[in-house]
């Protein structure tokens, strides 16, 4: 493994509301090398999205450390963190502000971080994600689901981050658009030298995108696999085997 970009050590996330405590993540550890694509797989409620949110500071870290390039991250996250790490959300219908044009969505982060050459950057970001300048002044309701997710990817990329956190970026899209967006993400990673951490419940998607992955169940990481081990079905725990056979679909008895 090359230089470690992002590392998570013994991460615990506990939500408290009233008298209830929910331990959403229990002692999860992993490291992601620069330029690597890392997957987190698990069923709904396994805490995989919460890991991403904890990395961004959107979920409270109750124990463990998260390091970016070896430096522990302070809470709240500093502005430099947001320039280095960005996130693409699951549902493109919920992640774009309904009253903001694409132009506003893309220019706001540039204004916050005081970037120069804004016009060029906005046009470049739209071109990068395969949307023409025609789309620049549209509102989200004038875009399809796939186009919205492209805008969300452009928003994440416009600050030129090194790490992109992908929270099931294609699960809200239909199959043909899924492939398009996945290919787009693959191409962008190659072009910009990005590091990906991708969460998905779909093993096929993760097998396509990721070099390594962990499998999560009930908030804990049960197994770490490489892509080769995954495609050869060399899983060690029962849960992963079950997940693997489930992903192959219905098999007649």
């Amino acid at each position: 493994m090359g230089e470690v970009m992002l590392s998570v050590e013994a991460l615990d996330v506990t939500f408290r509301r009233g008298g209830d405590t929910v331990r959403a993540v229990r002692g999860v550890s992993f490291g992601v090398a620069r330029g690597e694509s890392f997957g987190i797989v698990g069923e709904s409620g396994s805490g995989k999205s919460t890991v991403l949110r904890a990395i961004c500071g959107l979920a409270p870290t109750s124990a463990g450390t998260i390091r970016l390039k070896g430096q522990p991250l302070p809470d709240p996250r500093p502005a430099a963190f947001f320039r280095a790490v960005q996130m693409v959300f699951q549902d493109p219908y919920a992640s774009l502000h309904p009253r903001h044009t694409v132009d506003r969505v893309l220019s706001e982060p540039l204004a916050i971080h005081g970037f120069d050459r804004r016009e060029e950057r906005i046009e470049g970001a739209l071109r990068d994600v395969g949307l023409g300048p025609d789309f620049r002044f549209r509102y989200p309701h004038q875009l399809s689901g796939g186009q919205r997710q492209r805008v969300a990817v452009a928003r994440a990329l416009i600050l030129e981050p090194e790490v992109l956190l992908l929270d099931e970026p294609t699960s809200a899209l239909d199959a043909s658009i899924q492939a398009e967006v996945l290919n787009l993400l693959d191409r962008l990673r190659a072009e910009h030298g990005l590091t990906y951490v991708m969460v998905s419940h779909d093993l096929a998607v993760v097998a396509h995108m990721c070099d390594r992955l962990i499998v999560m169940q009930h908030g804990a990481a049960v197994e770490e696999l490489t892509r080769a081990a995954l495609s050869a079905h060399r899983a060690e725990t029962d849960y992963t085997k079950k997940l693997l056979s489930a992903s192959e679909g219905y098999t007649p008895a």
């Binding site: 961004c56 959107l58 502005a79 947001f82 320039r83 960005q86 996130m87 959300f89 699951q90 549902d91 919920a94 992640s95 774009l96 502000h97 309904p98 009253r99 903001h100 044009t101 132009d103 706001e108 982060p109 916050i112 971080h113 025609d134 789309f135 002044f137 549209r138 509102y139 004038q142 969300a152 928003r155 600050l159």
Partner: protein, 301 residues
């Protein structure tokens, strides 16, 4: 390309075209509701009358005519469309000039109360915790004041007058807007687009102003418009009690109060300003209903 096509284009070429197009779509939806258009017409008419009061009114609103021959002239008398009152003043001219006072009350209350309510509500909803508790208990305290009683206390302390009445009405009308804005903020503060803004390093002030407020604004505007009728009635009520506008100002509520002594024999003196209050209140209510149909995203299908 016609102007309409330009506005409705799916591929706007500039920021202003996108914004104008959005406004035009809202207008098209609004225009298809004829009751809302009637409401808008009444409100526009009120504004025009207030602006051009000096040109429209045939007589002086404060100086009456000959007290021996021109008192209590009935409506449709020559030269006095709505008749004259006990001091031989032309009622039509007084109503026309009174529209200025009504409009002033409505505009000032909206300008004072709406921003306070929005600010308190969005701040409380967005930050939560003890900030929410403190701000909302403060709101509850203001909500507990009966509007007229507080106005009475205010006027007793500061002296009667339309300005003090406006301040009293504004102070008692922001709490419902704060509650509304807080409720709206609670539904969107954990949404992904707000999280996305946080992840871009946006400050709380930027998120509140640029992301949360625009989404709360439409429901607050609807509520303010619907409340306008109540505000006009409260102002008229204060005038009626002699605590708002002072004689000889032609305030509609005060005109009704002055005319009630002659209600049996000279019914028009109190009735005409009453009709004016009724029409303007109705106009604001219709306008508010129409705005709700257009602006409230939840009411749509």
């Amino acid at each position: 390309m016609t102007r309409r096509d330009w506005l409705l284009s799916d591929q706007p070429a500039s920021r202003s075209q996108a914004r104008l197009g959005q406004a035009f779509r809202t207008w098209l939806a609004f225009r298809s509701n004829w009751l809302a258009m009637v409401g808008l017409g009444i409100v526009v008419l009120l504004i025009l009358v207030a602006l051009g009061a000096n040109l429209i009114a045939p007589h002086d609103p404060l100086l009456g005519g000959d007290l021996r021959t021109e008192r209590f002239l009935p409506p449709l008398t020559e030269g006095h469309l709505l008749g004259t009152d006990d001091l031989a003043r032309d009622i039509f001219s007084r109503i026309v000039h009174g529209s200025r006072l009504t409009l002033m009350v409505v505009v000032l209350v909206a300008v004072i109360a709406t921003p306070i309510g929005l600010l308190v509500g969005t701040t409380a909803g967005y930050f939560g915790g003890w900030i929410d508790t403190v701000l909302m208990r403060l709101t509850d305290i203001f909500l507990a004041f009966p509007r007229l009683i507080l106005a009475l206390a205010f006027v007793a302390a500061l002296g009667p007058g339309i300005e003090n009445a406006i301040i009293a009405i504004a102070i008692t009308s922001w709490p419902p807007y704060a509650r509304l804005a807080r409720a709206e903020t609670l539904t969107i503060r954990d949404s992904d687009f707000i999280n996305a803004a946080r992840l871009q390093g946006a400050s709380s002030a930027r998120i509140l102003w640029g992301h949360v407020t625009p989404l709360c604004l439409s429901s607050v505007i609807i509520r303010v418009t619907l409340d306008m009728a109540g505000i006009i009635l409260t102002a008229a009520g204060l005038g009626f009690l002699g605590l708002g506008a002072q004689p000889p100002q032609p305030e509609w509520g005060a005109m009704i109060a002055a005319g009630r002594r002659f209600l049996i024999d000279q019914w028009w003196v109190a009735t005409m300003p009453g009709i004016a209050i009724f029409i303007v209140s109705l106009g604001f209510n219709l306008l508010g209903d129409g705005l709700r149909d257009v602006l409230d995203p939840k009411a749509r299908k």
